[in-house]
Point group: C2
Chain length 252, copies 2
Amino acid sequence: MMVEGRHFLPGQDMADVAWKLVAVNLSDLAAKGAEPLGVLLGYMLGGDDARFAEGLREACAAFGVLLLGGDTVRGTGARSFGLTAIGRATCTPVPDRRSANAGDAIYVTGTLGEAMLGFEALKDCNGRDATGADSAAYRRPRPLLAEGRALAPLVSAMMDVSDGLLLDCWRMARASHATFQLDSETFPVADPARLNECVRWGDDYQLLFTVSADVTLPVPATRIGTVLEQDIAALWVDGHVLTPRDGIGYQH
Amino acid sequence: MMVEGRHFLPGQDMADVAWKLVAVNLSDLAAKGAEPLGVLLGYMLGGDDARFAEGLREACAAFGVLLLGGDTVRGTGARSFGLTAIGRATCTPVPDRRSANAGDAIYVTGTLGEAMLGFEALKDCNGRDATGADSAAYRRPRPLLAEGRALAPLVSAMMDVSDGLLLDCWRMARASHATFQLDSETFPVADPARLNECVRWGDDYQLLFTVSADVTLPVPATRIGTVLEQDIAALWVDGHVLTPRDGIGYQH
Protein backbone atom coordinates (compact mmCIF):
# COMPACT_ATOMS: atom_id res chain seq x y z
CA MET A 1 0.00 0.00 0.00
CA MET A 2 1.12 3.53 -0.68
CA VAL A 3 -0.52 6.46 1.08
CA GLU A 4 -0.34 10.12 0.06
CA GLY A 5 1.74 12.17 2.47
CA ARG A 6 3.47 9.09 3.81
CA HIS A 7 4.78 7.09 0.87
CA PHE A 8 4.62 9.86 -1.70
CA LEU A 9 4.51 13.64 -1.63
CA PRO A 10 1.26 15.50 -2.29
CA GLY A 11 1.63 16.96 -5.77
CA GLN A 12 4.08 14.31 -6.93
CA ASP A 13 3.71 13.13 -10.52
CA MET A 14 1.24 10.24 -10.36
CA ALA A 15 3.13 8.43 -13.12
CA ASP A 16 6.04 8.11 -10.68
CA VAL A 17 3.70 6.95 -7.92
CA ALA A 18 2.29 4.24 -10.16
CA TRP A 19 5.78 3.14 -11.19
CA LYS A 20 6.91 2.91 -7.60
CA LEU A 21 3.80 1.01 -6.52
CA VAL A 22 4.62 -1.66 -9.10
CA ALA A 23 8.37 -1.61 -8.46
CA VAL A 24 8.28 -1.99 -4.67
CA ASN A 25 5.97 -4.98 -4.90
CA LEU A 26 8.08 -6.61 -7.58
CA SER A 27 11.06 -6.04 -5.29
CA ASP A 28 9.46 -8.47 -2.84
CA LEU A 29 9.26 -11.03 -5.63
CA ALA A 30 12.89 -10.31 -6.54
CA ALA A 31 13.91 -11.19 -2.99
CA LYS A 32 12.20 -14.56 -3.46
CA GLY A 33 13.94 -15.23 -6.75
CA ALA A 34 10.46 -15.24 -8.30
CA GLU A 35 9.48 -14.47 -11.87
CA PRO A 36 6.68 -11.85 -11.85
CA LEU A 37 3.50 -12.70 -13.75
CA GLY A 38 1.08 -9.89 -13.11
CA VAL A 39 -0.37 -7.37 -10.70
CA LEU A 40 -3.77 -6.59 -9.18
CA LEU A 41 -4.40 -2.93 -8.41
CA GLY A 42 -6.64 -1.23 -5.85
CA TYR A 43 -6.95 2.30 -7.19
CA MET A 44 -8.48 5.34 -5.52
CA LEU A 45 -9.67 7.67 -8.25
CA GLY A 46 -8.41 11.25 -8.40
CA GLY A 47 -7.85 14.17 -10.73
CA ASP A 48 -4.84 12.77 -12.53
CA ASP A 49 -5.84 9.25 -13.44
CA ALA A 50 -4.30 9.52 -16.89
CA ARG A 51 -0.82 10.15 -15.48
CA PHE A 52 -1.20 7.22 -13.12
CA ALA A 53 -2.26 4.99 -15.99
CA GLU A 54 0.76 6.12 -18.00
CA GLY A 55 3.20 5.27 -15.20
CA LEU A 56 1.46 1.95 -14.64
CA ARG A 57 1.78 1.12 -18.33
CA GLU A 58 5.48 2.06 -18.31
CA ALA A 59 6.27 -0.03 -15.25
CA CYS A 60 4.35 -3.08 -16.47
CA ALA A 61 6.16 -2.88 -19.81
CA ALA A 62 9.57 -2.34 -18.19
CA PHE A 63 9.26 -5.36 -15.91
CA GLY A 64 7.23 -7.63 -18.18
CA VAL A 65 4.10 -7.95 -16.06
CA LEU A 66 0.40 -7.76 -16.90
CA LEU A 67 -2.31 -5.81 -15.12
CA LEU A 68 -4.56 -8.76 -14.27
CA GLY A 69 -7.37 -6.96 -12.47
CA GLY A 70 -8.28 -5.02 -9.39
CA ASP A 71 -10.73 -2.44 -8.20
CA THR A 72 -11.39 1.28 -8.38
CA VAL A 73 -12.94 3.30 -5.56
CA ARG A 74 -13.73 6.89 -4.81
CA GLY A 75 -12.25 8.20 -1.59
CA THR A 76 -11.95 11.33 0.42
CA GLY A 77 -8.82 13.03 1.75
CA ALA A 78 -5.41 11.43 1.37
CA ARG A 79 -5.35 8.92 -1.47
CA SER A 80 -4.11 5.40 -1.06
CA PHE A 81 -3.30 2.64 -3.51
CA GLY A 82 -2.86 -1.07 -3.03
CA LEU A 83 -1.13 -3.53 -5.30
CA THR A 84 -0.64 -7.28 -5.15
CA ALA A 85 2.05 -8.81 -7.35
CA ILE A 86 1.80 -12.46 -8.37
CA GLY A 87 4.90 -14.41 -9.33
CA ARG A 88 6.22 -17.90 -9.80
CA ALA A 89 9.10 -19.25 -7.74
CA THR A 90 12.10 -20.26 -9.85
CA CYS A 91 13.82 -22.40 -7.23
CA THR A 92 12.94 -24.25 -4.05
CA PRO A 93 13.26 -23.76 -1.21
CA VAL A 94 12.13 -20.20 -1.87
CA PRO A 95 14.55 -17.88 -0.02
CA ASP A 96 13.26 -16.26 3.14
CA ARG A 97 14.71 -14.34 6.05
CA ARG A 98 14.76 -17.19 8.54
CA SER A 99 17.66 -19.34 7.44
CA ALA A 100 20.90 -17.38 7.84
CA ASN A 101 23.57 -19.74 9.18
CA ALA A 102 26.41 -19.01 11.59
CA GLY A 103 29.55 -18.54 9.51
CA ASP A 104 27.76 -17.16 6.46
CA ALA A 105 28.90 -13.92 4.91
CA ILE A 106 26.40 -11.03 4.83
CA TYR A 107 26.08 -9.07 1.59
CA VAL A 108 24.07 -6.20 0.19
CA THR A 109 23.74 -5.17 -3.46
CA GLY A 110 24.14 -1.65 -4.82
CA THR A 111 24.45 1.60 -2.93
CA LEU A 112 22.38 2.67 0.06
CA GLY A 113 21.08 6.18 0.53
CA GLU A 114 20.40 6.99 -3.10
CA ALA A 115 16.65 7.05 -2.48
CA MET A 116 17.18 9.39 0.48
CA LEU A 117 19.20 11.82 -1.66
CA GLY A 118 16.58 11.52 -4.41
CA PHE A 119 13.80 12.29 -1.97
CA GLU A 120 15.60 15.40 -0.78
CA ALA A 121 16.19 16.57 -4.35
CA LEU A 122 12.51 16.08 -5.12
CA LYS A 123 11.37 17.85 -1.97
CA ASP A 124 13.59 20.84 -2.75
CA CYS A 125 11.67 21.21 -6.00
CA ASN A 126 8.26 21.11 -4.30
CA GLY A 127 7.55 17.62 -5.50
CA ARG A 128 7.71 18.53 -9.16
CA ASP A 129 11.21 17.65 -10.26
CA ALA A 130 9.88 15.14 -12.73
CA THR A 131 12.96 15.15 -14.93
CA GLY A 132 15.83 15.50 -12.44
CA ALA A 133 18.02 12.42 -12.73
CA ASP A 134 19.10 12.74 -9.11
CA SER A 135 15.58 12.05 -7.83
CA ALA A 136 15.11 8.99 -10.01
CA ALA A 137 16.33 6.59 -7.31
CA TYR A 138 13.42 7.74 -5.13
CA ARG A 139 10.82 8.21 -7.86
CA ARG A 140 11.57 5.22 -10.09
CA PRO A 141 13.23 2.39 -8.16
CA ARG A 142 14.05 -0.74 -10.12
CA PRO A 143 13.35 -4.15 -8.59
CA LEU A 144 16.40 -6.42 -8.82
CA LEU A 145 14.53 -9.27 -10.49
CA ALA A 146 17.44 -10.74 -12.48
CA GLU A 147 19.77 -10.44 -9.49
CA GLY A 148 17.26 -12.11 -7.21
CA ARG A 149 16.78 -15.03 -9.58
CA ALA A 150 20.55 -15.49 -9.94
CA LEU A 151 21.09 -15.40 -6.18
CA ALA A 152 18.10 -17.47 -5.04
CA PRO A 153 19.66 -20.94 -5.53
CA LEU A 154 22.83 -19.88 -3.66
CA VAL A 155 21.75 -17.87 -0.63
CA SER A 156 20.80 -19.12 2.83
CA ALA A 157 18.54 -16.09 3.49
CA MET A 158 17.46 -13.08 1.42
CA MET A 159 15.14 -10.06 1.66
CA ASP A 160 14.87 -6.66 0.05
CA VAL A 161 16.03 -3.60 1.97
CA SER A 162 12.90 -1.48 2.12
CA ASP A 163 13.05 -0.03 5.64
CA GLY A 164 16.76 0.68 6.09
CA LEU A 165 19.81 -1.62 6.02
CA LEU A 166 20.29 -1.81 9.79
CA LEU A 167 16.67 -2.50 10.65
CA ASP A 168 16.38 -5.14 7.96
CA CYS A 169 19.63 -6.77 9.15
CA TRP A 170 18.19 -6.85 12.68
CA ARG A 171 14.98 -8.43 11.39
CA MET A 172 16.83 -11.10 9.40
CA ALA A 173 19.06 -11.91 12.37
CA ARG A 174 16.05 -12.22 14.68
CA ALA A 175 14.11 -14.38 12.22
CA SER A 176 17.16 -16.62 11.82
CA HIS A 177 17.83 -16.89 15.58
CA ALA A 178 21.32 -15.62 14.85
CA THR A 179 23.51 -12.59 15.46
CA PHE A 180 24.68 -10.31 12.68
CA GLN A 181 28.08 -8.68 13.15
CA LEU A 182 28.56 -5.73 10.79
CA ASP A 183 31.49 -3.43 10.03
CA SER A 184 30.28 0.08 9.12
CA GLU A 185 33.45 0.84 7.16
CA THR A 186 32.28 -1.60 4.53
CA PHE A 187 28.75 -0.15 4.07
CA PRO A 188 28.27 0.91 0.43
CA VAL A 189 26.67 4.33 0.87
CA ALA A 190 25.85 7.15 -1.51
CA ASP A 191 27.22 9.83 0.84
CA PRO A 192 29.93 8.68 3.30
CA ALA A 193 29.55 11.93 5.25
CA ARG A 194 25.99 10.87 6.06
CA LEU A 195 26.62 7.17 6.54
CA ASN A 196 24.32 6.87 9.53
CA GLU A 197 21.36 8.24 7.61
CA CYS A 198 22.09 6.20 4.49
CA VAL A 199 21.84 2.91 6.39
CA ARG A 200 18.69 3.95 8.30
CA TRP A 201 16.64 5.41 5.45
CA GLY A 202 14.53 2.97 3.47
CA ASP A 203 13.31 2.86 -0.10
CA ASP A 204 16.50 1.64 -1.75
CA TYR A 205 15.14 -1.83 -2.65
CA GLN A 206 18.57 -3.44 -2.71
CA LEU A 207 18.93 -7.13 -1.82
CA LEU A 208 20.29 -8.20 1.56
CA PHE A 209 21.45 -11.81 1.68
CA THR A 210 23.58 -14.32 3.50
CA VAL A 211 25.61 -17.02 1.79
CA SER A 212 28.49 -19.38 2.52
CA ALA A 213 31.70 -17.38 2.46
CA ASP A 214 33.23 -19.63 -0.23
CA VAL A 215 30.48 -19.08 -2.84
CA THR A 216 31.37 -17.05 -5.94
CA LEU A 217 28.58 -14.53 -6.41
CA PRO A 218 26.85 -14.19 -9.80
CA VAL A 219 26.11 -10.48 -9.23
CA PRO A 220 28.04 -7.55 -7.73
CA ALA A 221 27.48 -7.11 -4.00
CA THR A 222 29.36 -5.78 -0.99
CA ARG A 223 30.23 -7.90 2.00
CA ILE A 224 29.21 -6.03 5.14
CA GLY A 225 29.64 -8.62 7.89
CA THR A 226 29.34 -12.16 9.19
CA VAL A 227 26.58 -14.26 10.73
CA LEU A 228 27.42 -15.52 14.24
CA GLU A 229 25.77 -17.97 16.59
CA GLN A 230 23.01 -16.16 18.47
CA ASP A 231 24.37 -14.20 21.45
CA ILE A 232 22.85 -11.55 23.72
CA ALA A 233 21.94 -9.29 20.78
CA ALA A 234 20.69 -9.69 17.21
CA LEU A 235 22.84 -6.91 15.77
CA TRP A 236 26.35 -5.70 16.47
CA VAL A 237 27.82 -2.81 14.47
CA ASP A 238 31.48 -1.95 15.11
CA GLY A 239 31.27 -3.71 18.45
CA HIS A 240 28.10 -1.92 19.64
CA VAL A 241 24.67 -3.49 20.09
CA LEU A 242 21.89 -1.82 18.08
CA THR A 243 18.15 -2.45 18.42
CA PRO A 244 15.03 -0.89 16.85
CA ARG A 245 14.84 1.36 19.94
CA ASP A 246 17.97 3.06 18.65
CA GLY A 247 16.06 4.34 15.60
CA ILE A 248 17.79 2.10 13.09
CA GLY A 249 15.17 2.27 10.34
CA TYR A 250 11.66 3.03 9.19
CA GLN A 251 9.04 1.34 11.34
CA HIS A 252 5.42 1.04 10.19
CA MET B 1 -10.79 -1.76 -1.55
CA MET B 2 -13.00 -0.43 1.20
CA VAL B 3 -12.83 3.22 2.22
CA GLU B 4 -14.17 4.73 5.46
CA GLY B 5 -17.21 6.92 4.85
CA ARG B 6 -17.87 5.29 1.48
CA HIS B 7 -17.90 1.52 1.99
CA PHE B 8 -18.37 1.55 5.75
CA LEU B 9 -19.65 3.99 8.33
CA PRO B 10 -17.24 5.90 10.57
CA GLY B 11 -17.59 4.27 13.98
CA GLN B 12 -18.69 0.91 12.60
CA ASP B 13 -17.35 -2.16 14.38
CA MET B 14 -14.06 -2.96 12.65
CA ALA B 15 -14.72 -6.68 13.06
CA ASP B 16 -17.65 -6.27 10.67
CA VAL B 17 -15.51 -4.24 8.28
CA ALA B 18 -12.87 -6.96 8.21
CA TRP B 19 -15.51 -9.64 7.64
CA LYS B 20 -17.03 -7.71 4.76
CA LEU B 21 -13.65 -7.01 3.17
CA VAL B 22 -13.02 -10.76 3.02
CA ALA B 23 -16.59 -11.66 2.03
CA VAL B 24 -16.96 -9.26 -0.89
CA ASN B 25 -13.70 -10.43 -2.42
CA LEU B 26 -14.64 -14.07 -1.99
CA SER B 27 -17.93 -13.23 -3.68
CA ASP B 28 -15.96 -12.46 -6.84
CA LEU B 29 -14.41 -15.91 -6.59
CA ALA B 30 -17.86 -17.43 -6.03
CA ALA B 31 -19.04 -15.89 -9.29
CA LYS B 32 -16.16 -17.67 -11.03
CA GLY B 33 -16.99 -21.01 -9.43
CA ALA B 34 -13.57 -20.83 -7.81
CA GLU B 35 -12.38 -22.44 -4.60
CA PRO B 36 -10.77 -19.79 -2.37
CA LEU B 37 -7.25 -20.47 -1.12
CA GLY B 38 -6.15 -17.37 0.73
CA VAL B 39 -6.12 -13.62 0.99
CA LEU B 40 -3.52 -10.84 0.99
CA LEU B 41 -4.39 -7.79 3.07
CA GLY B 42 -3.34 -4.14 2.78
CA TYR B 43 -4.14 -2.75 6.19
CA MET B 44 -4.10 0.87 7.34
CA LEU B 45 -3.45 0.88 11.08
CA GLY B 46 -5.87 2.57 13.48
CA GLY B 47 -7.08 2.57 17.04
CA ASP B 48 -9.07 -0.65 16.87
CA ASP B 49 -6.72 -3.11 15.23
CA ALA B 50 -7.69 -5.90 17.63
CA ARG B 51 -11.35 -5.79 16.54
CA PHE B 52 -10.30 -5.85 12.90
CA ALA B 53 -8.05 -8.84 13.54
CA GLU B 54 -10.94 -10.62 15.29
CA GLY B 55 -13.31 -10.13 12.35
CA LEU B 56 -10.59 -11.17 9.93
CA ARG B 57 -10.00 -14.35 11.90
CA GLU B 58 -13.73 -15.12 11.98
CA ALA B 59 -14.17 -14.60 8.24
CA CYS B 60 -11.11 -16.63 7.30
CA ALA B 61 -12.33 -19.47 9.51
CA ALA B 62 -15.91 -19.27 8.22
CA PHE B 63 -14.88 -19.46 4.58
CA GLY B 64 -11.84 -21.70 4.92
CA VAL B 65 -9.19 -19.30 3.69
CA LEU B 66 -5.73 -18.41 4.99
CA LEU B 67 -4.22 -14.97 5.48
CA LEU B 68 -1.22 -15.43 3.20
CA GLY B 69 0.43 -12.04 3.63
CA GLY B 70 0.07 -8.37 2.93
CA ASP B 71 1.22 -5.04 4.23
CA THR B 72 0.50 -2.59 7.03
CA VAL B 73 0.75 1.18 6.67
CA ARG B 74 0.06 4.24 8.74
CA GLY B 75 -2.27 6.74 7.13
CA THR B 76 -4.03 9.98 7.81
CA GLY B 77 -7.72 10.81 7.57
CA ALA B 78 -10.21 8.30 6.19
CA ARG B 79 -8.90 4.76 6.46
CA SER B 80 -8.82 2.38 3.55
CA PHE B 81 -8.18 -1.33 3.27
CA GLY B 82 -7.32 -3.48 0.30
CA LEU B 83 -7.65 -7.21 -0.06
CA THR B 84 -6.76 -9.63 -2.83
CA ALA B 85 -8.33 -13.09 -2.74
CA ILE B 86 -6.61 -15.97 -4.50
CA GLY B 87 -8.59 -18.97 -5.66
CA ARG B 88 -8.45 -21.98 -7.93
CA ALA B 89 -10.93 -22.45 -10.75
CA THR B 90 -12.99 -25.62 -10.43
CA CYS B 91 -14.20 -25.79 -14.03
CA THR B 92 -13.22 -24.41 -17.40
CA PRO B 93 -14.12 -22.27 -19.14
CA VAL B 94 -14.29 -20.08 -16.03
CA PRO B 95 -17.64 -18.23 -16.10
CA ASP B 96 -17.54 -14.56 -17.00
CA ARG B 97 -20.05 -11.88 -17.98
CA ARG B 98 -19.41 -11.96 -21.70
CA SER B 99 -21.12 -15.11 -22.85
CA ALA B 100 -24.88 -14.79 -22.28
CA ASN B 101 -26.68 -16.29 -25.28
CA ALA B 102 -29.92 -15.20 -26.90
CA GLY B 103 -32.66 -17.49 -25.64
CA ASP B 104 -31.04 -18.08 -22.22
CA ALA B 105 -33.04 -17.55 -19.06
CA ILE B 106 -31.78 -14.90 -16.63
CA TYR B 107 -31.68 -15.80 -12.92
CA VAL B 108 -30.67 -14.24 -9.66
CA THR B 109 -30.17 -16.01 -6.32
CA GLY B 110 -31.62 -14.90 -2.99
CA THR B 111 -33.37 -11.68 -2.12
CA LEU B 112 -32.33 -8.18 -3.20
CA GLY B 113 -32.48 -5.18 -0.88
CA GLU B 114 -31.58 -6.96 2.34
CA ALA B 115 -28.27 -5.13 2.54
CA MET B 116 -30.07 -1.82 1.97
CA LEU B 117 -32.47 -2.51 4.84
CA GLY B 118 -29.54 -3.65 6.97
CA PHE B 119 -27.64 -0.46 6.21
CA GLU B 120 -30.61 1.64 7.23
CA ALA B 121 -31.03 -0.30 10.47
CA LEU B 122 -27.35 0.20 11.25
CA LYS B 123 -27.43 3.91 10.42
CA ASP B 124 -30.44 4.43 12.68
CA CYS B 125 -28.32 3.12 15.53
CA ASN B 126 -25.42 5.49 14.77
CA GLY B 127 -23.33 2.73 13.33
CA ARG B 128 -23.28 0.73 16.55
CA ASP B 129 -26.00 -1.86 16.15
CA ALA B 130 -23.49 -4.67 16.42
CA THR B 131 -25.98 -7.28 17.49
CA GLY B 132 -29.07 -6.41 15.45
CA ALA B 133 -29.92 -9.34 13.22
CA ASP B 134 -31.57 -7.05 10.71
CA SER B 135 -28.30 -5.30 9.92
CA ALA B 136 -26.39 -8.55 9.41
CA ALA B 137 -27.06 -8.63 5.66
CA TYR B 138 -25.15 -5.36 5.36
CA ARG B 139 -22.51 -6.00 8.01
CA ARG B 140 -21.76 -9.67 7.39
CA PRO B 141 -22.55 -10.72 3.84
CA ARG B 142 -21.85 -14.34 2.93
CA PRO B 143 -20.20 -15.15 -0.38
CA LEU B 144 -22.14 -17.84 -2.26
CA LEU B 145 -19.14 -20.10 -2.77
CA ALA B 146 -20.96 -23.44 -2.83
CA GLU B 147 -23.68 -22.05 -5.09
CA GLY B 148 -21.10 -20.59 -7.48
CA ARG B 149 -19.24 -23.87 -7.74
CA ALA B 150 -22.48 -25.79 -8.40
CA LEU B 151 -23.60 -23.32 -11.07
CA ALA B 152 -20.27 -22.74 -12.82
CA PRO B 153 -20.38 -25.80 -15.13
CA LEU B 154 -23.96 -25.00 -16.20
CA VAL B 155 -24.17 -21.26 -16.79
CA SER B 156 -23.38 -19.30 -19.94
CA ALA B 157 -22.52 -16.14 -17.97
CA MET B 158 -22.28 -15.31 -14.26
CA MET B 159 -21.30 -12.41 -11.98
CA ASP B 160 -22.03 -11.30 -8.46
CA VAL B 161 -24.52 -8.48 -7.87
CA SER B 162 -22.42 -5.91 -6.04
CA ASP B 163 -23.62 -2.62 -7.54
CA GLY B 164 -27.37 -3.24 -7.94
CA LEU B 165 -29.31 -5.81 -9.96
CA LEU B 166 -30.29 -3.51 -12.81
CA LEU B 167 -26.82 -2.01 -13.33
CA ASP B 168 -25.20 -5.43 -13.22
CA CYS B 169 -27.78 -6.80 -15.69
CA TRP B 170 -26.98 -3.88 -18.00
CA ARG B 171 -23.25 -4.60 -17.69
CA MET B 172 -23.67 -8.30 -18.42
CA ALA B 173 -25.88 -7.56 -21.43
CA ARG B 174 -23.35 -5.08 -22.80
CA ALA B 175 -20.42 -7.41 -22.25
CA SER B 176 -22.34 -10.21 -23.99
CA HIS B 177 -23.43 -8.02 -26.94
CA ALA B 178 -26.98 -8.99 -26.09
CA THR B 179 -30.20 -7.47 -24.77
CA PHE B 180 -31.67 -8.39 -21.40
CA GLN B 181 -35.46 -8.29 -21.13
CA LEU B 182 -36.61 -8.25 -17.51
CA ASP B 183 -40.01 -8.41 -15.82
CA SER B 184 -40.05 -6.41 -12.59
CA GLU B 185 -42.91 -8.44 -11.16
CA THR B 186 -40.56 -11.35 -10.81
CA PHE B 187 -37.79 -9.48 -8.95
CA PRO B 188 -37.16 -11.17 -5.57
CA VAL B 189 -37.01 -8.15 -3.27
CA ALA B 190 -36.92 -7.75 0.51
CA ASP B 191 -39.50 -4.94 0.47
CA PRO B 192 -41.95 -4.94 -2.48
CA ALA B 193 -43.10 -1.41 -1.56
CA ARG B 194 -39.55 -0.24 -2.31
CA LEU B 195 -38.86 -2.45 -5.30
CA ASN B 196 -37.11 0.29 -7.25
CA GLU B 197 -34.59 0.86 -4.50
CA CYS B 198 -34.04 -2.83 -3.83
CA VAL B 199 -32.89 -3.47 -7.39
CA ARG B 200 -30.69 -0.35 -7.53
CA TRP B 201 -28.89 -0.67 -4.19
CA GLY B 202 -25.76 -2.79 -4.17
CA ASP B 203 -24.05 -4.89 -1.53
CA ASP B 204 -26.28 -7.96 -1.69
CA TYR B 205 -23.64 -10.25 -3.26
CA GLN B 206 -26.16 -12.54 -4.85
CA LEU B 207 -25.29 -14.35 -8.09
CA LEU B 208 -26.68 -13.18 -11.42
CA PHE B 209 -26.45 -15.77 -14.18
CA THR B 210 -27.78 -16.85 -17.54
CA VAL B 211 -28.41 -20.45 -18.50
CA SER B 212 -30.30 -22.47 -21.09
CA ALA B 213 -33.96 -22.42 -20.16
CA ASP B 214 -34.12 -26.24 -20.06
CA VAL B 215 -31.40 -26.70 -17.41
CA THR B 216 -32.47 -27.92 -13.97
CA LEU B 217 -30.76 -25.65 -11.47
CA PRO B 218 -28.76 -27.16 -8.56
CA VAL B 219 -29.52 -24.18 -6.29
CA PRO B 220 -32.60 -22.02 -5.62
CA ALA B 221 -32.83 -18.96 -7.86
CA THR B 222 -35.50 -16.73 -9.36
CA ARG B 223 -35.99 -16.29 -13.07
CA ILE B 224 -36.22 -12.58 -13.84
CA GLY B 225 -36.08 -12.45 -17.62
CA THR B 226 -34.73 -13.65 -20.94
CA VAL B 227 -31.68 -12.90 -23.06
CA LEU B 228 -32.52 -11.57 -26.53
CA GLU B 229 -30.46 -10.86 -29.61
CA GLN B 230 -28.90 -7.42 -29.26
CA ASP B 231 -31.32 -4.65 -30.24
CA ILE B 232 -31.26 -0.86 -29.75
CA ALA B 233 -30.79 -1.16 -25.97
CA ALA B 234 -28.93 -3.42 -23.56
CA LEU B 235 -31.69 -3.46 -20.95
CA TRP B 236 -35.48 -3.50 -21.14
CA VAL B 237 -37.57 -3.61 -17.97
CA ASP B 238 -41.33 -3.97 -18.39
CA GLY B 239 -41.01 -2.66 -21.93
CA HIS B 240 -38.95 0.42 -21.02
CA VAL B 241 -35.31 1.00 -21.92
CA LEU B 242 -33.04 1.66 -18.92
CA THR B 243 -29.43 2.86 -19.03
CA PRO B 244 -26.89 3.87 -16.34
CA ARG B 245 -27.99 7.49 -16.93
CA ASP B 246 -31.28 6.52 -15.33
CA GLY B 247 -29.52 5.90 -12.01
CA ILE B 248 -29.92 2.14 -12.05
CA GLY B 249 -27.15 1.30 -9.60
CA TYR B 250 -24.01 2.25 -7.71
CA GLN B 251 -21.33 3.65 -9.98
CA HIS B 252 -17.73 3.98 -8.81
